[in-house]
């Protein structure tokens, strides 16, 4: 399983692997918002947590259609399915690799980009916290969506439509953590709920992803 994660990370860092794409997209979204709504601090400050979370969520979507599709195209998915590694572990490894190449860099970048949207301190800290706890769920749900659509030509669009509604709980709790943190309220309750969503995804979705893959490989 670690070998599969290591291989996916190597592939992501090599030419054409798409590492950094999510971060660049996130940066552009965040930079565009002040152009769209105006640069006044009073206007940016209340919407900053929501914008940052939606930006991170969309950036996460960008690389999802590659999770299984590339392995499917070159036949590696068939070979993985017949390997001694259980497909559930392969799905979990894929989600982990996706998180390490998108979720984790987004988590690290978001507090810095919060400055661009006048996010007040200690909102940066809570934003980082909420992304750290919430982005694994984004990768796990996304991997499940990718497993569902792996056999389809141009499945990327369908994938977005399937996955985005499933992101709602994570978005609601995640943005709430950042908003409460920025306003000086207690953010622990939504943070716990966010953690619950992520843990639930971790417990269930590798099995669902493996099931979807088995059906699609037939």
């Amino acid at each position: 399983m670690i070998r599969l994660i290591a291989r996916d990370l190597t592939l992501a860092f090599r030419a054409g692997g798409g590492f950094g794409l999510a971060i660049a997209f996130f940066l552009i979204v965040v930079v565009l918002v002040p152009f769209g709504v105006g640069p006044e601090t009073a206007r940016l400050r209340p919407i900053a947590p929501g914008i940052l979370w939606i930006g991170a969520l969309l950036a996460c979507l960008l690389s999802l259609d590659r999770v299984f599709a590339l392995d499917r195209e070159d036949g590696a998915l068939d070979l993985l399915a017949t390997a001694p590694l259980p497909l559930e572990a392969a799905a979990l490894a894929k989600a982990t690799a996706h998180w390490l190449t998108t979720g984790l860099p987004l988590t690290l970048a978001a507090p810095c980009l919060g400055v661009l949207l006048s996010l007040p301190w200690p909102g940066h800290l809570w934003l980082g916290c909420s992304l750290l706890v919430g982005t694994p769920a984004l990768s796990l749900v996304g991997t499940f969506g990718a497993a569902l659509t792996v056999g389809l030509k141009r499945g990327g669009l369908l994938l977005s439509i399937l996955v985005l509604p499933l992101y709602i709980p994570t978005l609601v709790f995640g943005a709430d953590v950042a908003r409460r943190g920025a306003e000086g309220l207690d953010p622990v309750t939504p943070l716990l709920l966010l953690g619950a969503v992520s843990l639930g995804c971790l417990a269930l979705l590798p099995f669902a992803s493996a099931g979807a893959l088995r059906v699609n490989l037939r």
């Binding site: 070998r3 599969l4 291989r7 190597t10 592939l11 090599r14 030419a15 054409g16 692997g17 392995d71 070159d74 036949g75 590696a76 998915l77 068939d78 070979l79 993985l80 399915a81 017949t82 390997a83 001694p84 590694l85 490989l217 037939r218």
Partner: protein
């Protein structure tokens, strides 16, 4: 001696429609069986079913997918990884990391070890895909048109590797249209093509279409 691969009354389907039915055969350890049949006759579907990638409609396959290595049309290699990196990955998945150098030597890939797989010719890429079979360490090889885009020397080299695998007690089921030069009986899947009755059975009906 028990069979390396034993298939009983197998029926396989592609996209829910029966393709082959009532197929029974055995391969003893150290032996190979060559699969023949026109395009679209269900050879790949049969191999995928035996590999455990799809469930059979009926019948049994013994042993399970755990002892079967499947060599598909596609090589499953990553273009941005080198030949050695690709093979090391698959060897690691199958717990055979010590065998990588030997596999590269047997498929004449040692000189290409540091070359990215996307820079290989079709035949070299095919040799890379076949080298993975050695690294699975599994006794039963299912090979789907293994010699596509191989030149004569590579075909002979591959036949040598296959003979070596059989000599160590392995078994192989090979779908191929060329003569590999190995002593193996031929199984023509033509007579096992699924009939209308199989279609009815698959769809849970008793009679024909008219009923």
């Amino acid at each position: 001696m028990s069979a390396a691969l034993s298939v009983r009354d197998l029926a396989v389907a592609r996209g829910g429609l029966p393709v082959l039915s009532d197929l029974s055969f055995e391969i003893a350890p150290g032996h190979a069986l060559v699969l023949r049949g026109p395009n679209g006759s269900g050879k790949t579907t049969l191999l995928r079913t035996l590999a455990g990638l799809q469930p059979p409609l009926r019948g049994t396959v013994a042993p399970g997918p755990g002892s079967i290595a499947y060599g598909a049309h596609a090589n499953g290699m990553k273009g941005t990884l080198s030949v050695r990196e690709n093979l090391t990955f698959w060897a690691g998945i199958h717990g055979q990391r010590d065998a990588v150098e030997d596999a590269m030597r047997r498929f004449a890939l040692t000189a290409l070890a540091e070359r990215p797989a996307q820079g290989l010719s079709a035949g070299q890429g095919r040799r890379l895909g076949l080298a993975r079979m050695v690294l699975t360490g599994r006794p039963v090889w299912l090979l789907d048109e293994p010699t596509v885009s191989l030149d004569a020397a590579s075909v002979a080299g591959f036949a040598d590797v296959l003979r070596g695998h059989l000599a160590t007690g392995g078994a192989a089921l090979v779908a191929t249209h060329i003569d590999l030069g190995i002593d193996a009986p031929i199984l023509d899947v033509g007579p096992y093509r699924a009939t209308l009755a199989d279609l009815d059975r698959a769809m849970g009906r008793d009679g024909g279409f008219a009923a």
